[in-house]
């Protein structure tokens, strides 16, 4: 869909979870009494420094470089046009990532319920800790089994593991891992309760650990019964 198409769709249907995109209140804490509004700054100075993270986030969501570029471009256009709704002094990154997430949901809305197919709670806690211990990777005092395992996976393999998460867990986890947003910021960006962020993030980590282990096995980085290859 073209940028114009997205804008039209947004205007016609509302955006995301029923919230008009350009009309939402600024993300961030709003003080009850503000003696003085912070000076507005040009959007260039806020947007340009976060484009790498925005692209990384979009790439992990869309799983496709061309789509990721399109998503960031659409979000940038909407952010520029809706910048008057951003409240200076609040969290611009959370504000922009909310727009970006809504762009993503607008495109891929029909895939939002895949998580019901996955038995998330079947993954035990401390999955990688237990697996690496079973392989004797914790045997010596100076051992660093977490580093020994993850360091041997490249970025694409770690990204592939993240992409195995059901969408609602992947969105929260991507905001956490790539954009380093606090729970409260993620909650505001996605318009969900902090408790939901917490539970999705914690469950997402469990699935991610299981996926990382599977990839490490498939790539021969570890071998069942024998430790690191």
């Amino acid at each position: 869909m073209s940028v114009l198409g997205v804008l039209c769709a947004a205007a016609a249907k509302g955006w995301g979870w029923g919230t008009p995109l350009l009309g939402f209140a600024a993300v961030g804490t709003v003080a009850a009494t503000r003696p003085k509004e912070p000076e507005p700054v040009p959007i260039d100075t806020l947007l340009t420094p976060i484009l790498d993270r925005a692209y990384g986030f979009a790439l992990r969501l869309s799983r496709n470089r061309a789509d990721a570029e399109d998503l960031v471009q659409e979000a940038a256009l909407l952010a520029v046009r809706g910048y008057h709704t951003f409240q200076p002094g609040t969290n611009f990154k959370a504000w922009f990532f909310r727009i970006l997430t809504n762009c993503y949901y607008s495109r891929y809305r029909r895939n939002r319920h895949e998580s019901s197919l996955v038995d998330i709670d079947s993954t035990p806690e401390l999955f990688l800790y237990v697996r690496t211990a079973e392989l004797g990777m914790h045997a010596q005092p100076g051992d660093n089994p977490a580093h020994d395992l993850i360091d041997r996976l490249d970025s694409e393999q770690v990204a592939a593991a993240l992409e195995t998460l059901p969408e609602e867990y992947r969105v929260v986890s991507t905001l956490y891992f790539i954009d380093d947003l606090a729970y409260e910021d993620i909650a505001q960006a996605l318009q969900i309760p902090v408790g939901t962020v917490r539970s999705r993030l914690h469950r997402g980590r469990k699935i991610l650990q299981r996926s990382l282990w599977r990839i490490a096995l498939e790539r021969g980085i570890v071998q069942e019964g024998r430790g690191p290859a």
Partner: protein, 84 residues
């Protein structure tokens, strides 16, 4: 009965993710830290999980926006600045 000024291993385990993410209250953080100083098993689990998180973050953040995207966004910003 649980002492209010000391966490058990189970209590620390329940808070491990929030502790790693610096989402606990200062009082809870102190109690977890105190426990980790004296419990080798919990300290080992904490160190492992912390390393996993840090290394995943480090690997996922290596991605840069392609020049074509930067150029497109620059065009959007310039066009809007010119229009306003």
């Amino acid at each position: 009965m649980t002492s209010v000024d000391r966490y058990t291993c189970e209590e620390v385990f329940r808070r491990l993710n929030d502790f790693l993410d610096r989402e606990l209250t200062p009082a809870e953080t102190t109690l977890v830290e105190e426990h980790l100083k004296t419990c080798a098993q919990c300290a080992s689990e904490h160190a492992f999980e912390q390393t996993v998180l840090e290394e995943i973050k480090e690997k996922l953040r290596r991605i840069s926006a392609p020049p074509s995207l930067l150029s497109k966004v620059r065009t959007i910003l310039d066009a809007e600045n010119g229009a306003s």
